[in-house]
């Protein structure tokens, strides 16, 4: 006879999140135009990627969208070995969570790089990466499914 020491359970909730105008536009441009959008702060001229509607340090609304083109370079990345609770869908460890520098943006985009562990280990800051888009895009940041090293 064993004492009951653990009660297993889970909480499942469904959400319909409103992204708001700015994030909504970013997601729409990903879906419809395979386009990365950033926003420029009118006070500091800093370009924020991914965009949000409020400039954090200047404390002003940001509404000026900028189109980001070109492939990013790696600023830094971490090879993820232990799957987080919110492991990106369709991806197995090890994969990389990376901070990606794009020309024209002053902040790095956090996204994933999928490649063999060997290739991930070989990646260095400054290396070029390119996006792999989903065939069917629905308006999420994973419309870019992942990035891969350009010299694959």
């Amino acid at each position: 006879m064993e004492d009951v020491k653990i009660l297993n359970g889970e909480i499942v909730l469904d959400y319909k999140w409103s992204p708001g105008q700015t994030i909504g536009k970013f997601l729409t441009n990903l879906k419809d135009g395979k386009e990365l959008s950033a926003v420029r702060c009118s006070v500091t001229s800093k370009v924020f990627l991914p965009p949000q509607g409020w400039s954090p340090y200047a404390n002003k609304k940001m509404t000026k969208f900028e189109r980001i083109v070109g492939s990013p370079t790696l600023k830094t990345g971490t090879i993820v070995y232990e799957a987080p609770w919110n492991k990106p869908e369709g991806v197995e460890v090890p994969y990389m969570l990376a901070a990606l520098s794009f020309v024209g943006a002053d902040t790095e985009l956090l996204h994933i790089v999928v490649a063999s562990e060997e290739k991930l280990l070989a990646l260095k800051p400054g290396d070029k990466l390119k996006p792999v888009w989903k065939e069917e895009r629905i308006g999420t940041i994973r419309d870019i499914d992942h990035f891969v090293p350009e010299n694959l």
Binding site: S18, P19, Y57, N59
Partner: protein, 402 residues
């Protein structure tokens, strides 16, 4: 000793049941900007921000104030969150009061709100129940309050369903004069209330509150800064945040001992000896109609068990009555949970400032704002007056009546 504190700015987000045009951060930011502008200040003037919301299962982001930091002016400032369930808005307003009264800060921004329309609210509320004890039977807030209502009606047999209908009608009629109320039912009548479907006996559908996306914000300033501010102010005279237990033995859900204690303390602190006479306007957190009877009795406005006759039948709590309760239409007309309890404080402040427009109570000198949260166990009270010293407000009233 603590410094005197005044509310000098108020912000409430655009009235709409579902704010699909904004995300959580943007909703909170909207209220925040309004309050600062209303106070005649700039973002740089603010030296501390308390930014709260109700249980994070509603917005689906843990520590949502972190997500909202940029939009609520927390970047490079002191900024954190209080969480006390339904009364979180009031608890937050009160935290703001402590931040100023303590001498730590001079111009504090408090914000509280939520997006309730992004998930199932009742499912989120059912999570209040302990997984080991009650969650399997939980039916959200209505079932808990329904039990509370039954318990009350058992010990106060004069209280009938008709009284609940009267209260619900009164509130929705008040709401017609409040531009910030989300539930507008011009056709509301006691018949309509009585003929609604059951929600959770003895409560019917309209005995309950709506759910919406809303945020409320206020600016609280120290005496030194408030005196320099030409805007109208509401001086905070007394605050209390008391918790009773949830599972303690012989708990009588119809007797909110925490509220009674909070009232006792606040009245003692402000010199209120006869609340019915001494207070001009009250905003209670009425998530359900029956709570008018229970909270008002606990606030000492009537004899035990006599709220139905002495307060409702008598018309004492109507807009044209002796002590108007919820001129705003209450939570019954506008509920985002996160913002609701702060809106009670904001509404009282507006009454004191003379800014309540069409739902203004004439000569509102002294007001009381109440909030409750949790398993109906957290109660908060904030008493405000027009004059910096409450005794001067008592004087003003005496002169008017005399």
């Amino acid at each position: 000793m603590g410094r005197k504190v005044a509310i000098t700015g108020i912000g409430q987000t655009k009235t709409k049941l579902k704010r699909k045009d904004v995300n959580f951060s943007e909703l909170m930011g909207e209220a925040a900007r309004q309050a600062i502008e209303d106070a005649g200040l700039t973002i740089d003037d603010i030296d501390c921000v308390i930014c709260s919301s109700s249980p994070e299962f509603f917005c689906g982001i843990n520590e949502p104030e972190m997500f909202a930091t940029d939009f609520t002016f927390g970047v490079m400032k002191p900024h954190y969150r209080i969480q006390t369930g339904g009364t979180v808005g009031a608890s937050t307003g009160i935290t703001g009061w402590y931040m100023v009264s303590s001498g730590l800060y001079n111009n504090v921004l408090v914000i509280s709100g939520d997006k309730l329309t992004e998930t199932s609210v009742q499912k989120g509320l059912s999570l209040v129940y302990s997984p080991t004890m009650g969650r399997d039977f939980a039916a959200g807030a209505p079932s808990a309050v329904a039990c509370q209502t039954r318990a009350y009606m058992h010990r106060a047999p004069e209280a009938k369903l008709e009284h609940l209908a009267k209260i619900g009608t009164q509130m929705r009629k008040n709401a017609l004069y409040n531009p910030n109320a989300t539930l507008k039912l011009p056709q509301i009548s006691e018949d309509m209330m009585m003929n609604m479907a059951w929600l959770s006996t003895p409560l019917k559908l309209l005995d309950s509150c709506p759910t919406s996306d809303a945020a409320c914000a206020m600016v609280l300033q120290s005496e030194e800064y408030a005196d320099k501010n030409p805007r109208p102010k509401a001086w905070v005279q007394s605050v209390s945040t008391i918790a009773e237990g949830v599972n303690y033995p012989d708990r009588d859900w119809s007797v909110p001992i925490a509220l009674k204690e909070a009232a006792r303390k606040c009245y003692a602190e402000t010199g209120i000896t006869n609340p019915m006479e001494d207070i001009d306007v009250i905003e209670i957190y009425d998530a359900f109609t029956s709570q008018h009877l229970i909270w008002l009795e606990a606030l000492g406005l009537c004899d035990v068990g006599k709220a139905a006759s002495q307060l409702i039948d008598s018309g004492a709590t109507r807009m044209d009555g002796k002590l108007p309760v919820n001129p705003s239409g209450g939570v019954l007309s506008n509920n985002s949970i996160g913002g609701s309890a702060m809106i009670r404080q904001a509404e009282i402040a507006m009454q004191i400032m003379g800014r309540a427009g069409e739902h203004q109570v004439e000569h509102a000198e002294i007001g009381l704002a109440h909030g409750w949260g949790g398993a109906i166990q957290f109660h908060t009270i904030m008493i405000m007056s027009k004059e910096k010293e409450i005794k001067d407000s008592f004087e003003n009233r005496k002169k008017r009546k005399g």
